[in-house]
């Protein structure tokens, strides 16, 4: 992340981080000799061209600035399963910043938890604080996401998200996840009706926690169990990826698709709405095996018409960010075993009228009334911004109607846009994915709750993505447009 201290940076550093011309960088360096650059006012007084000033504002820290920026979050050494570890938070701050607390929220295979660490004077001086995870906070092999907040005196806050792989200490592991690029973790794989058959696709990740590479034969045995591994065996077989090796402190990934015709054991279990456990056992070249498991099941699903409003004023990057945000939304629901299909829609700028930027509930309802998409899908309108209201989303009703007419037939969300330090228009993917999920949750019948970490908190943040089984899952699956494979 580009960031520059204007009080001390060389003209070259200013030009590079701020992406401004050498002439402007020199002007800043000269200007600060005449008048210290303490506040935006001082920067404004330099008389820079607006575009150049705007670029500098995005990356510059000033002398009277109490803002904080997290520049990186990284474990200084690989995180090994079942071992204490450290996550280093590197940061920068304006001349009057006083970092006080680093707070790391960990999302992993189990329930999220938080580890906090006070920032000492020595940490502030070196611009980094180590958050230590002790024997009570070790993690199993697999992916772990760290959402880190750094708080300062006066209320400054900076946020940063990073996902790390926890390497196996034993030293090899196999982890399985649903086969789609938008999901990771240990939740269920999905049995999908594909013509007459059911198909089940999974990703296989082999992680190596050793300091030397491990050779694998590539051959594997698969088993579908009813009632967990060691219960009743539904079906089994073998396959091969072809031989491969896993680098030291590295990982290897592959995928498997199972096709189950009518009459097969797996088909019958899916058709009976029963869940199963898939076990994959892989062979090391030098002998020995390693295995992983995942639950699989059919899922309820619904449909969304994701509609970009004022379409011609979206950049290609913003369109991609919206796609990624909707994958985040899907991942939130698939964690609770409900999935959705997406029909991507748009309203041209010429037809959007004032709906590109809306500023009242009434205007949002006008949008629901005047526009709709096809099919038994919920209309989700993503607008350029919602301004002057204090809210950033709205659902037509709880639950919403199973029709496309009237002033309640849809949800709207601000696209959560910003311009990054490189001058590129972006959407806050994690937040927007959560926001769409929250408003769609209302439409599916969910009211606000007070359960920590829940998607339906009145002010849920990007890490509040949990949906409970009872009553939320049970409410969702009764929505009129819900279907099952």
């Amino acid at each position: 992340m580009p960031v520059v201290h204007l009080a001390t940076a060389t003209p070259k550093q200013i030009a590079s981080a701020g992406r401004v011309s050498a002439k402007v960088a020199q002007q800043v360096a000269r200007g600060r000799k005449a008048r210290p650059l303490r506040s935006p006012d001082d920067l404004l007084a330099l008389g820079l061209p607006f575009g150049q000033l705007e670029k500098l504002r995005r990356v510059a820290l000033l002398e009277a600035d109490s803002r904080l920026v997290i520049t990186d979050v990284v474990p200084p050494r690989p995180i090994m399963s079942e071992k204490p570890f450290v996550v280093r938070v590197s940061f920068a701050g304006g001349g009057e910043s006083r970092p006080r607390l680093a707070s790391a929220r960990v999302s992993w295979a189990g329930e999220p938890f938080v580890v906090e660490h006070l920032v000492e004077a020595a940490d502030a001086k070196r611009g980094a604080v180590d958050v230590r995870f002790g024997a009570g906070q070790t993690l199993p092999a697999g992916p772990a996401r760290f959402d880190v907040d750094l708080f300062g005196e006066g209320g400054a806050q900076a946020s940063f998200r990073v996902t790390c792989l926890v390497f196996p200490s034993n030293p090899l592991s196999v982890s399985l996840s649903p086969n789609a690029h938008f999901v990771t973790g240990t939740f269920s794989a999905r049995g999908v009706r594909d013509g007459a058959n059911y198909t089940t696709s999974i990703n296989v990740t082999v992680a190596n926690g050793d300091s030397s590479s491990v050779a694998m034969t590539g051959g594997f045995t698969w088993k579908f169990w009813d009632g967990g591994v060691g219960g009743s065996l539904v079906e089994q077989g073998t396959g091969s990826f072809g031989s491969f090796s896993v680098a030291a402190h590295g990982s290897w990934g592959g995928w498997i698709t199972f096709t189950s015709p009518p009459g097969s054991g797996i088909f019958n279990k899916y058709d009976g709405r029963e869940d199963m456990t898939i076990e994959i056992i892989m062979n090391r070249s030098g002998g020995g095996t390693v295995s992983g498991t995942i639950t699989c099941r059919t899922m309820f699903r619904f449909g969304l018409n994701i509609t970009r409003v004022d379409a011609e004023n979206w950049t290609t990057q913003e369109r991609q960010d919206l796609i990624d945000a909707t994958f985040t939304t899907r991942s939130i629901y698939e964690h609770r075993d409900v999935t959705h299909d997406i029909d991507r829609r748009l309203i041209h700028s010429a037809d959007s009228g004032s709906f590109g930027v809306i500023n009242s509930e009434s205007e949002a309802r006008d949008l629901f009334e005047q526009w709709s998409g096809p099919g038994n899908n919920i209309d989700v309108f993503i607008v350029q911004n919602i301004v002057g209201t204090g809210f950033d989303g709205l659902a037509g009703d709880i639950p919403g109607p199973t029709s496309h007419s009237g002033r309640s037939s849809g949800v709207v969300a601000s696209k959560s846009g910003f311009v990054d330090g490189n001058g590129q228009k972006r959407l806050h993917i994690a937040y927007l994915g959560m926001l769409i999920g929250h408003e769609v949750g209302h439409y599916l019948g969910l009211a606000h709750v007070s359960e920590a970490g829940n998607l339906m908190l009145p002010s849920s943040g990007e890490t509040d993505t949990h949906l409970n089984y009872d009553p939320q899952y049970r409410t969702i699956i009764r929505f009129g447009w819900m279907r099952i494979d």
């Binding site: 748009l346 309203i347 509930e361 005047q370 209309d379 204090g390 989303g393």
Partner: protein, 209 residues
């Protein structure tokens, strides 16, 4: 245990098998040692209102002492990595109390905010103050090259018009010569009093290739 209603299939909530169990103990620093962190967390919950009714309730939770921190949040910038909604809702709330300090921040952000969304939020907020002194800043917003920023300014002008009336609004923009600004001003004036126009029938969104 309450009886579960019939779903038509088995409810087997999957539970990952994890060595040491699926929970880990959180290690938190008590907030009594960090009152400003506690205040910031409280403000975050107020600012991240997703729905109109919540926004309304949250407004009532604001205390006078919160506004200094609200100004801080409003000026945080994308560098901080926090959601844009946090900054933009802080900006909107500053307009609720148009003190000199709050107006200073809104004016700065409307003129030199670090991106078009921040400037747009500040322009809309300035209009909501209903203060005539917002007019020249809104005029610059109406002239913005970016259509989203200009549209936000137009919302600000509509809000200002509701406070000043059409005559007052025209007087506030007296002397304005730029065609783009005047065109948007006229459009805003049309929107001060909704004419109750509705589309004859719902229109269909287009496929997004």
């Amino acid at each position: 245990m309450p009886e579960r209603p019939e779903d038509g299939f088995k409810l087997n909530e999957p539970a990952p098998r994890i060595r040491g169990g699926a929970t880990r103990k959180s290690v938190r620093v008590p907030r009594r040692e960090l009152p400003q962190v506690a205040q910031r967390e409280r403000l975050n919950a107020i600012l991240l209102a997703h729905d109109p009714d919540v926004a309304e309730e949250n407004r009532a939770k604001l205390k006078e002492a919160d506004f200094a921190m609200l100004r801080q949040v409003a000026q945080e910038g994308a560098l901080a990595g926090t959601p844009p909604a946090l900054r933009q809702n802080a900006i909107a709330l500053l307009a609720e109390r148009p003190t000199p300090d709050n107006l200073d921040v809104l004016t700065h952000l409307a003129r030199t905010g670090d991106d078009l969304y921040v400037r747009g939020a500040a322009l809309a907020a300035l209009g909501k103050t209903g203060l005539r002194l917002a007019a020249p800043i809104l005029a610059e917003g109406l002239a913005a090259r970016d259509p989203i920023e200009a549209a936000s300014a137009e919302h600000g002008v509509v809000a200002l018009g509701k406070a000043l009336g059409e005559g007052g609004l025209r007087a506030a923009f007296h002397g304005e010569k730029r065609k783009a600004v005047l065109d948007r001003l006229e459009r805003a004036i049309q929107r001060i009093e909704p004419r109750g126009e509705r589309a004859a029938k719902p229109r269909a969104t287009a496929g997004d290739a």
